[in-house]
Every structure is written in structure tokens, then in C-alpha cells.
């Protein structure tokens, strides 16, 4: 685990820096929302596409976003754990 993350967690435990933590969570939510929108856009393209090659590429793109969102959710969960929500 990175030093910054550890320090953030420690700050969370002793009740410091709640404001900046909140900002981090807000930022993360925003990024996750943007990724979800992007994924929906690609899904729409996938539904309209008949070209196998293009469908393959779009599926790969979706998978990339899904894995990134999964990692984002893990970060989100870790932050909430630190805050004790």
C-alpha cells in the first residue's frame, strides 16, 4: 500500500482531514460516473454494430472500463472503511 494511502487512512482514523477525504470521495464518484457513461456509450455502439472486428474492439473497450471501475470501487470501499461508514 502506498504511503499516501496509509497516511490518509491514519488521518481518517484519528478524525483529521475529513474535508479532504470527502473531496477525494467526490472526485472518485465523478470519475466512476464518467466511466459508466462511457461504458454505456460503447454498449450502444456495440448494439448497433454488425462488424465482427468492430464488435471485438468495442468488447475489449468495455472490459477495460469494467476492470477500471472495479478497481475504483475497491478504492471507494477502502476509503469508506477508513472513515468507518
Amino acid at each position: 500500500m502506498k504511503l499516501k494511502k496509509l497516511l490518509d487512512k491514519l488521518s481518517g482514523l484519528i478524525g483529521l482531514d475529513n474535508g479532504s477525504d470527502q473531496k477525494e470521495i467526490e472526485k472518485l464518484r465523478k470519475v466512476l460516473k464518467a466511466l459508466k457513461e462511457k461504458q454505456d456509450e460503447i454498449h450502444e455502439k456495440l448494439e448497433n454494430s454488425k462488424d465482427d472486428n468492430e464488435r471485438h474492439k468495442l468488447n475489449q473497450k468495455i472490459e477495460v472500463i469494467q476492470r477500471q471501475r472495479k478497481k475504483g470501487l475497491e478504492v471507494y470501499q477502502a476509503m469508506r472503511d477508513v472513515r468507518g461508514d
Partner: protein, 610 residues
């Protein structure tokens, strides 16, 4: 405009000349061989630059007295001030010596050339070094065929000297019909008019015969049989001194601006010396008489007295001009300037912005974008893809089967014009900014430095790739052409996606979007490797072409990887200090490889739909 009409016009004139006159043909051939000899010598001296010869040259010419002595000794040995001056021009063009050192050698050569008059007048001996031209040429070509760079360099020099003499031989042949018409007795004139006319005769004779030695021999012979008066012979000697500069001027045509400056210095020196000799001919003659009687030359020994005169006025000229070497260097550097090349310069960097780290960071960021923008065009054109095609909406797959349309670009030249100065300035600025800024800016500056280095690495990868791309993307073999065009298409698609990322507002989303391009790049590389395997198995590709294709595939992957790294680094440098969300959510290389390998690419579909 002038440049465009120059070549066709000169070609037409030459064609007419070749058709109309054999002498003209010989003359033009001589000039061409002479210039080719100069180019050969320059090439040869380049092989020795930085080496022993340059050290020896520097050590032999680092003081004025040394460069003068160098000129005197070499001209005395070679008995040709013209050869010494053209070799000196080659040294200068190859940046082995400075202009001041070159001028010193030329002054020395003017002193050295006076020994010729003594040899001719005293011993009736004429050293004809041009007889060695052919053997020198043979040895030159023999050395050229060796693998050692030094021997090759020596070969170029010898071949150059051989061609110089061959050129002079042809020029003499071309002028021979005119030389026969020079009958000095026709012009025997007394007084100042006679001096001026015979000076011009001396200039013309030397230009025609391409040798001041030949003119001196001619005039000494004519003087001995009483064909010319003593005074007129002196004027011819003065004219020969001016006329001999024609060889250096001719030699400087193919040289760079430094060579031209030296030829101009040679002309100035010989003109000034000649003019002074004409103006002070009376006092000089008295001095010649005194010296001649002092060293035991009889009053009617005009040929030896001519040698005394020749030595005297050249020595006086050198002594007079010595204090003016540095002013002459400054004058020539001001007057004869290098061709002005428009090189793109940094726009946002200033020493003042180093005071504030935030301002310095923004300046370095903008300048890196400026560099990237310049590199974008070079790389796109290097891949024979137009910028408008990348930024347009047409399907890039259409490029796949058609022979690639060539885009004329010299990557090295474009690098010098559009990249080098900005890149150097960026690296220097970032290093200085990083040294004076607080630690929190360190990551941002490091990212920008990395971006700059990746931009340059991407251009180098393009240069490597272009060699084969130019040939094979226009190949008659459709399989080869398609595979090479696939590199262009892949590259074009990546650049198009990167350009589209500019619309993304959130830099973290931009960073995460790079993962998609990485997956596509790796998947495309994997597909290309499989295609090459199939083509080899089906014997549709020779093993040599297949390995070229594999190597060039690696260059394409490197090029695209570098471009992605540039965008990654530039984006990271714009993030707030300590921001790590992009890193935390980005995929690891294993994930990227895993998705690129997956046949369906949808293993996780459905798990995170909401």
C-alpha cells in the same frame, strides 16, 4: 523562384556549350572534376575530424607563427599555393581549423609560393606535381575500398587530390586554345599603362593556366629571351599573385560559408598586396636593386631579380596584413553569413518564470505541448499519413490495400528545424526549475522531462521505420504492402484517438482512456505477429521480408508506446500535487495483456453492468 529557374537555365547553357565547343566541354569537365575533388577531400577530412590529424593540425596552427610556417612549408614542399589553399578550405569546411588559422596558412602559402620563382629562376627547374595525379587517384580508390574508416578517409583525400589535378589538367586543356594566343610582345608598353596592362595579362594568364608557377615560368623565360621588359615582367608577377586566387574561389563554390570566407580572405590579401606593389613599385624596385647587389646578383640577372621582387612584395604584404587578421575575420563573419534557417524556438520559457514554481511548471507544460505538436506532424508525415487524414473522419482502413502516397520529408532536417532547439531548451529549463522548486513539484517536472524524452524517442522510432515503410508500403506484393500499411493504419487510429482525448475534461478519465489504446495496440501487434507467421508458413513471404516485417512491427509498437507515454506524462504533470487516483485505477500491464489476448474480450461483461 530564382532557384527554380537557375538549374534548368544553367543546364541549357551547358548543353549548348557542349554542342558548340570542344574547349568549353574540356573546361566544364575540368571545373566539375575539380569541384568533385573538393567534395572528396572534404569527405576525407571529416573521417579524421576529432582524430590525430585534427590534433596535429590544431597543434601546427594554434599560433599565428605556426599557421604561417605551416603555409610556407607545405607550399614549398608541394610547389602549389593553389593546392594548399583548397586543402585549407577543406579543413575549414570540415571545421577542423578556425578562420583565423586558415588565414594564417593562406598568408604562409603566399610566402611559400615565392620559392617557386627562385627554383625556376635559379635552377631552371619546374616541379610538376600534377604528374602524380593518376597514381594518387589509383591509390585513393584502392584505399576507398578498405573497410577501415581511417583508410577510407585517406582514400577520399587522395582521390580528391587526384580529381583536383585531373580537373586542373582538363581546365588547362580547355583554355589551351586561348593560351596560345597570349603573345606578350604584342603588348610591350612602357610606363604606368604598361604596368596595369601587364598586371591584367598576369591575372588572365594565371586564370587560364590555373597556375601562378606556370605564369612565372612563362614570364621568366620571356624575360630571359628579351620578349618582355623587366618592368612589364614585374607587373605580370603581381597579376599572377592576384590570378592565383581563382583556384581558391573555385574551390569555395562547393564549400560551406567558412570556406567561402577563407577564399574571400585570400582574394582580399592578394588584391591588397598587388595594389600596394603597383602603387609602391618605384621604392620596391630600389629595394630590389639594393638587396640584389647585397646578395651578389648581377645587375643584368633580371630573372633572379624578379624572384627577389616576388619574395619582397609578398613578404611586405604579409607583414602589412598580419595586424589585420582579426579585423578581417570579424569583417568576413559579418559580411558572409550562414544561410539563415528558420528554426522553431521555444515560446513560453523565460528565466523570470523560474522564480515561481507554479508559473515554471505551466511554462514547461505548454512548451512540451508545443514540442509534441511539432513532433505530431513530423511523425505523421514520416509514416506517410497526412495530418488532415488523421484528424478527419474517413475510415483509415481504406489505406490498407492502396499503395501508400509518398510524403516528402527529411526527418533529420525537420528534427533540426522543429525539435532540437525546443527540446534542448525544455530539458535545460525543467532541470533548472526542478532545482529551485519545492519537492511537491518534483513529480510534475519529472513527468514533463519524461514526456520530452519520449517525444524524441518516438521521432527516432519513426526514422527507423520509415526506411522500409517507404519501399514496402508501395510494394507490388499485396501481402507485404498490406502488412506495412497496417502499421500506418494502426498508427493513424492511435493518433486519432489521442486527438479525440483532447475533448475529455477530466484528466483522470484521459489517463484511464490510455489503457484502452494500450490494449488495442497490443492486440493489433499480436494479430500482426500471427499474420506474419501465417504468411511465412504459406510461403507468401521470404524469410528476409518476414524478419523486416517483424522488426518494423516492433518499431511501430515502440512508436505508439512512446506516444502513449507522452500523453500519459503530460496528463500526469497537469494533475494536482499528490493526485494518485489515476494510478490507482489504471490497469496493470498483466491486465492489459490479458484483455488483448482474450478472444471475445467480454469475460467480465455483465458483472458490473450497474
Amino acid at each position: 523562384m530564382l532557384g527554380r529557374i537557375f538549374l534548368p537555365t544553367i543546364s541549357l547553357i551547358l548543353c549548348y556549350g557542349f554542342w558548340a565547343s570542344t574547349s568549353f566541354k574540356d573546361l566544364a569537365t575540368g571545373v566539375a572534376l575539380f569541384l568533385f575533388g573538393m567534395l572528396c577531400m572534404e569527405e576525407g577530412f571529416k573521417a579524421f575530424s576529432g582524430g590525430a590529424l585534427q590534433k596535429l593540425l590544431r597543434a601546427s596552427t594554434d599560433r599565428l607563427w605556426k599557421s604561417l610556417s605551416f603555409g610556407v612549408v607545405s607550399t614549398t614542399l608541394m610547389q602549389s599555393s593553389s593546392l594548399v589553399s583548397v586543402i585549407t578550405i577543406s579543413f575549414l569546411s570540415a571545421e577542423m581549423i578556425t578562420l583565423a588559422q586558415g588565414i594564417g596558412i593562406i598568408f604562409g602559402a603566399n610566402l611559400g609560393t615565392t620559392t617557386g620563382a627562385w627554383i625556376v629562376a635559379g635552377f631552371g627547374l619546374k616541379v610538376n606535381i600534377s604528374a602524380y595525379a593518376m597514381p594518387i587517384l589509383v591509390f585513393g580508390v584502392l584505399f576507398l575500398m578498405q573497410s577501415s574508416a581511417r583508410l577510407k578517409g585517406a582514400g577520399w583525400i587522395l582521390a580528391g587530390i587526384g580529381f583536383l589535378f585531373l580537373g586542373i589538367h582538363f581546365m588547362k586543356g580547355g583554355f589551351s586554345s586561348y593560351a596560345d594566343q597570349i603573345d606578350l610582345t604584342q603588348y610591350a608598353i612602357e610606363g604606368i599603362r604598361g604596368l596595369l596592362v601587364f598586371t591584367v595579362v598576369g591575372i588572365v594568364a594565371t586564370v587560364v593556366m590555373q597556375s601562378s608557377h606556370a605564369t612565372l615560368t612563362l614570364i621568366i623565360t620571356a624575360l630571359a629571351v628579351g620578349q618582355v621588359t623587366y618592368e612589364n615582367a614585374l607587373a605580370v608577377a603581381i597579376g599572377a599573385n592576384v590570378g592565383t586566387t581563382i583556384t581558391a574561389i573555385l574551390g569555395s563554390i562547393s564549400a560551406n560559408v567558412s570556406g567561402k570566407r577563407l577564399a574571400a580572405a585570400h582574394l582580399i590579401f592578394n588584391l591588397v598586396t598587388g595594389t600596394l606593389a603597383l602603387v609602391f613599385i618605384g621604392p620596391l624596385l630600389s629595394l630590389v636593386e639594393s638587396i640584389s647587389s647585397g646578395i651578389g646578383i648581377a645587375a643584368d640577372e633580371y630573372t633572379l631579380k624578379l624572384a627577389v621582387f616576388h619574395t619582397l612584395f609578398n613578404t611586405a604584404g604579409v607583414l602589412l596584413m598580419l595586424p589585420f587578421i582579426q579585423p578581417m575575420v570579424r569583417f568576413l563573419e559579418q559580411r558572409l553569413k550562414d544561410k539563415k534557417i528558420e528554426r522553431d524556438q521555444p515560446r513560453y520559457l523565460s528565466s523570470a518564470s523560474l522564480e515561481l514554481p507554479d508559473v515554471a511548471q505551466k511554462a514547461a507544460f505548454k512548451e512540451t505541448l508545443h514540442l509534441f505538436d511539432n513532433a505530431f506532424s513530423i511523425i505523421a508525415h514520416g509514416m506517410d499519413v497526412k495530418r488532415s487524414v488523421i484528424l478527419g473522419k474517413d475510415d483509415l482502413q481504406e489505406l490498407l490495400e492502396k499503395p501508400a502516397e509518398a510524403i516528402d520529408i527529411d526527418i533529420d532536417e525537420q528534427y533540426s528545424l522543429l525539435i532540437k532547439d525546443i527540446y534542448s531548451a525544455n530539458i535545460e529549463f525543467i532541470s533548472r526549475a526542478q532545482a529551485v522548486s519545492s519537492a511537491e513539484y518534483s513529480d510534475s517536472f519529472s513527468a514533463l522531462r519524461r514526456a520530452n524524452m519520449d517525444i524524441v524517442a518516438a521521432i527516432k522510432a519513426t526514422k527507423h521505420l520509415r526506411k522500409n515503410l517507404q519501399v514496402h508500403s508501395r510494394s507490388d506484393n499485396l501481402d507485404v504492402r498490406r502488412e506495412y500499411n497496417r502499421f500506418r493504419v494502426r498508427f493513424g487510429e492511435v493518433l486519432r484517438e489521442l486527438a479525440a482525448l483532447k475533448q475529455t475534461e477530466d484528466p483522470i478519465v484521459t489517463l484511464l482512456s490510455l489503457d484502452q489504446i494500450r490494449v488495442e495496440n497490443l492486440a493489433a501487434a499480436n494479430d500482426a505477429a500471427k499474420t506474419v507467421d501465417t504468411l511465412i508458413r504459406n510461403r507468401q513471404l521470404s524469410p528476409q521480408l518476414a524478419t523486416s516485417l517483424m522488426n518494423d512491427g516492433a518499431y511501430t509498437r515502440e512508436l505508439i508506446g512512446r506516444l502513449l507515454d507522452v500523453v500519459d506524462a503530460i496528463t500526469k504533470s497537469s494533475l494536482p500535487v499528490g493526485e494518485a487516483l489515476g494510478d490507482e485505477m489504471s490497469l496493470q500491464i498483466e491486465d492489459i495483456a490479458d484483455i488483448a489476448r482474450s478472444a471475445e474480450g467480454s469475460s467480465l461483461s455483465g458483472k458490473l453492468e450497474d
